[in-house]
């Protein structure tokens, strides 16, 4: 029986007043280079969905020569099925804040933003208070905790666009521009917010940084597998008995084990979406796969954002497809043609499927559209927008040959 590995979820009972900010205090005694090295050594990968090594990003950011750099905490958690960042913001805002300050110190950024999705009203209230308290406690502002480091932090509320979770779109949004992705390169680390070097990190990534920095030794590097270090917050929802946020050590169990940890399925299990709607599904007979970046990739899916959705056989697959398609049609930013027009047409085909029944040609056309979108869309959000739909069609729909 799989058990949770409590690393990040420590200190749940604490608050701003009785949390000690040990990670921050220790960090302020190190040089930036030392912190970046420790994070690099920890093997931590970005928890927003793309899984880019955090240490590498910071190294790149640190090497940028600029008087002004920005650090942005990406809390625009919009991936359907994902609510682990909300969990952190509502329950451990102090740890998220600690991670933000450490990251800023490590990359030498004196200004920062936390961009929280507008629908998270409770998280916004809590974090607003957290920032205010932090200024009173000397955790933000000039000479943080008596050090030479100054850091200002502002909270920005998102206006409800999925694409603003993409870092370049998020930067546009903060600048007051239309939420659509920028052309890379230049990468935000080179030229981001207001054309200054900008580091964008996910909430969970930053909270993990705070925890890693607490210990003299690098505990994180001993957890998980070689390619998937540490633990991951998995938010499980759908047809399970105990939907919640669970902390899983990479490689400690399979997808089936995680479903069991969440109380087991309700009804007869049909398939699981391992990492949010941008990832491909795995059917009930494919769940014997270890929860790591590499194993899920090999199985044709991804860790994604950690938003796991369990789906039983009690649902109409076509309705699910249409619902998901509707989401991506509404949320494609409309800039690049493959994503905008591709998703629009996929929905048309799915409507036809609902009216007329399945035909092999539908799958073929959607397959072609998916390939064009996957290979040519402008941002990661677009590229992954057909994974779910295509994998359901691929695994469940076959024309009956008479």
């Amino acid at each position: 029986m799989l058990e949770e590995k409590i690393f990040l979820k420590k200190d749940l009972d604490k608050n701003m007043k009785n949390y000690d900010f040990i990670g921050l205090k220790k960090s302020l005694e190190f040089t930036s280079e030392d912190i970046v090295k420790k994070i690099t050594d920890s093997g931590l990968r970005g928890r927003g969905g793309a899984g880019f090594p955090t240490g590498k990003k910071w190294q790149f950011a640190l090497s940028q020569e600029s008087d002004v750099k920005f650090l942005i905490c990406n809390a625009d958690e919009g991936e359907p099925g994902t609510f682990k960042d909300r969990f952190l913001l509502e329950n451990m805002p102090f740890k998220v804040l600690e991670g933000i300050i450490i990251a800023a110190y490590a990359v030498k950024a004196n200004y920062g933003y936390i961009y929280i999705r507008g629908e998270y009203s409770k998280a916004i209230d809590i974090f607003e208070r957290t920032i205010k308290d932090a200024y009173h406690m000397g955790l933000l502002g000039k000479n943080i905790l008596g050090s030479n480091f100054d850091f200002e932090l502002k909270l920005i509320k998102g206006a409800g666009a999925y694409v603003c979770g993409d870092e370049t779109s998020l930067i546009n949004s903060i600048e007051g521009k239309r939420g659509f992705s920028r052309i890379k390169p230049p990468y935000p680390v080179q030229r981001g917010l207001f054309d200054m070097p900008t580091i964008v990190n996910n909430v969970e990534t930053l909270a993990t940084v705070a925890e890693i920095m607490k210990y003299d030794e690098n505990i994180y590097a001993t957890l998980g597998t070689e390619k998937s270090r540490g633990t991951k917050l998995v938010s499980i929802s759908g047809d399970v008995k105990l939907p919640d946020v669970y902390e899983i050590e990479f490689g400690s169990g399979t997808l089936s084990d995680i479903v069991k940890l969440a109380g087991g399925e309700r009804g007869e299990l049909s398939f699981v979406v391992p990492g949010g709607l941008a990832t491909s599904i795995l059917k009930n007979d494919e769940l014997d796969v270890l929860y790591t970046y590499e194993d899920l990739e090999e199985a044709g899916s991804s860790v994604g954002s950690g938003g796991m959705i369990v789906v039983s056989k009690d649902h109409d697959l076509v309705d699910i497809l249409l619902n998901v398609s509707d989401f991506f049609v509404k949320e494609t930013c409309g800039t690049c043609f493959p994503c905008r027009e591709g998703n629009r047409n996929i929905k048309e085909i799915l409507l036809k499927l609902k009216r007329k029944g399945f035909k092999e040609e539908y799958k073929k056309t959607i397959g072609e559209l998916r390939e064009a979108i996957l290979l040519a869309a402008r941002c990661g959000f677009g590229q992954s927008s057909v994974n779910f739909i295509y994998s359901v069609l691929d695994k469940f729909f076959h024309e009956e040959v008479i």
């Binding site: 666009a161 239309r178 052309i183 390169p185 049609v329 509404k330 949320e331 494609t332 930013c333 409309g334 800039t335 690049c336 043609f337 493959p338 905008r340 027009e341 591709g342 998703n343 629009r344 047409n345 048309e348 056309t365 072609e368 559209l369 390939e371 064009a372 996957l374 290979l375 040519a376 869309a377 402008r378 590229q383």
Partner: protein, 569 residues
């Protein structure tokens, strides 16, 4: 820098895009949203290529080459993706029976068609998307049909990158994304200058001029009406293009012949009133210069520029020359002088202009100018009418303009290019101010396609600083500098379009830099080959002053040939 394109090694300069590098290797990658000289947008994704080591395909317009890069421009994978995207674009383009390609304004210059061929699209599996978007008829100059729009944003970038006017924006999300104007007010109700650079840059027929073709046919067919036509200087070096002639072919004689065949009663030349403009504007400059009037003097021939300054820099309005543009001077002279000469009421005289310009359609409707010009046809519209009449344009024998408004000078001809009005004015102002004949008639410093050109000349021992500006983006920059006191001039020529009227919004499409250079060279050829090259030497202009206007800037000249401006901010 060494790179590999389709397995062959090439040595390329640093810091260029993949697209430019591939072009140097004589391979063409299809592009749609990309326009040379404007910021890459990376929206259409047709220019994607395979780059070894990259998980996804790479947009070649937006990514620079790097040492040892291995690029595949037309692999099976790339071609397949391009075909799929092209199908999606065509499906979103709103083709239906009413929007048939046959009737499209871009029927002969459709980029979608060209690109579809380049990509090798043989069938479209995706049905067209139905759109219900109203056509914008609010402007005097330009019609916008959003059903044909593929949302590539080229009009937005032309309006902002080139012109700094910024009337267009994206609105809504996802597939509902549309290009629109502020608060969806329509092009006629925002700060649009009517310059038509959006039309020139639209790859589809979603933007086109307001057609006056039907009105002109009705006038020609009305036996009660005497229909006269004037042709702007930049039309004659571009009109051959829609008939397959090389850009820069001078087709003045064929154009005159074609206009007669179409049924115009008299064929006149706007160049005549360009000469008149120079005499009026030159005299105005001399007055201001001698008597300490408002300087620098700004030229006022470009109606796009006029609307731009009215909206954006009303504090500079007193600098504008009060002289009407050559088109409006022609209209006024025709209605007030020529009609009398013919002995007909002016209502019976119909004045049609052939212009390289969309803003002229707005200009003729300005309340203070209305009534003098009845219709404005763009170069493109004229080509349509010639085709529609079955006229074999290429093989027409040359014919000459009618008198009296057919006698013109080389100074008038160069009105069609950026720097031309300035040069023409200097030729006249110099001789009037000094009383001496100009030795070196060509002011080369103000020629060429550069957006800002400056020069200093000496007249009677006094230094005169001049500047010549084309595109409104460059105009904005210069006016800002002037505001901050960074620059000082005595005389500035402003033209709204790239290269001046030769790159006007009514010209044949495409008007690339290559094409503009050829048109420009042709204009200067016309000037060189002219017997008369100074406006004040035009005998017909002299005669008009003798018979009707008195002298330059006289009371009657002011009444007929000058106008005023409106602050619109």
């Amino acid at each position: 820098m060494k790179i590999y394109i389709n397995n062959r090694e090439y040595d390329m300069p640093q810091d260029i895009s993949i697209l430019d590098a591939v072009k140097k290797a004589n391979i063409k990658i299809p592009t749609l949203c990309y326009v040379e000289g404007m910021d890459p947008y990376g929206g259409c994704r047709l220019c994607v290529v395979e780059v070894e080591g990259s998980r996804t395909l790479v947009p070649s317009c937006a990514v620079k080459i790097s040492e040892g890069m291995k690029i595949k421009t037309h692999s099976e994978k790339v071609r397949k993706v391009r075909r799929t995207i092209m199908q999606l674009i065509v499906a979103s383009h709103g083709i239906s029976c009413e929007l048939n390609c046959l009737t499209c304004p871009k029927a002969t210059s459709c980029e979608l068609k060209t690109i579809a061929e380049e990509i090798g699209v043989t069938k479209i599996n995706i049905p067209p998307v139905e759109k219900y978007l109203p056509t914008d008829f609010s402007s005097y100059s330009i019609v916008r049909e959003p059903t044909k729009c593929i949302v590539c944003g080229r009009c937005i970038r032309a309006c902002s990158n080139i012109q700094s006017v910024n009337i267009f924006t994206f609105a809504n999300r996802g597939p509902n994304t549309i290009v629109t104007t502020f608060m969806n007010e329509g092009m006629g109700n925002v700060d649009c200058t009517n310059c038509g650079q959006c039309v020139m840059n639209c790859p589809t027929g979603a933007l086109h001029e307001v057609y006056h073709i039907d009105g002109v046919w009705n006038a020609i067919n009305d036996p009660e009406k005497v229909v006269v036509v004037q042709t702007a200087p930049a039309v004659r070096v571009a009109l051959g293009e829609p008939f397959g002639m090389e850009p820069g072919t001078i087709s003045t004689g064929k154009m005159v012949a074609a206009l007669r065949l179409l049924g115009f009663d008299k064929v006149f030349d706007t160049n005549f009133t360009a000469d008149l403009t120079i005499v009026e504007e030159g005299t105005e400059f001399i007055h201001r210069f001698k008597e300490g009037g408002k300087l620098p003097l700004f030229t006022s021939c470009s109606p796009g520029w006029i609307k731009f300054i009215e909206h954006n820099y009303p504090e500079f309005l007193p600098h504008l020359s009060s002289a009407k543009s050559p088109q409006q001077m022609f209209g006024a002279v025709a209605k007030h002088y020529y009609a009398k000469k013919l002995g007909i009421p002016k209502e019976k005289l119909i004045v049609v202009s052939i212009m390289p310009c969309t803003a002229k359609k707005y200009e003729m409707n300005r309340p203070e100018l209305a009534g003098d010009v009845d219709f404005v046809l763009t170069t493109r519209e004229l080509a349509k009418m010639i085709k529609e009449s079955g006229i074999d344009f290429k093989n027409l024998p040359d014919e000459k303009y009618d008198d009296p408004f057919g006698i013109t000078t080389g100074a008038a001809a160069i009105f069609g290019v950026s720097g031309g009005v300035m040069e023409a004015a200097l030729r006249t102002a110099y001789e009037i101010l000094t009383g001496k004949e100009l030795e070196k008639i060509d002011f080369v410093a103000v020629r060429g396609l550069n957006k800002v050109k400056e020069a200093e000349i000496e007249i009677n021992g006094k230094k005169i600083r001049i500047a010549v500006v084309n595109t409104l983006g460059a105009a904005r920059k210069l006016l800002e500098k002037m505001k901050n006191g960074e620059v000082e001039y005595h005389f500035v020529e402003f033209m709204a379009c790239p290269g001046g009227c030769i790159g006007g919004g009514g010209q044949p499409i495409p008007s690339t830099e290559e094409v503009l250079i050829k048109r420009m060279e042709a204009i200067y050829d016309i000037d060189y080959d002219s017997k008369l090259r100074k406006s004040h030497e035009n005998p017909a202009v002299k005669k008009l002053y003798e018979e009707f206007l008195g002298e330059p800037n006289s009371e009657i000249a002011h009444h007929i040939l000058h106008t005023h401006y409106v602050a619109r901010s």
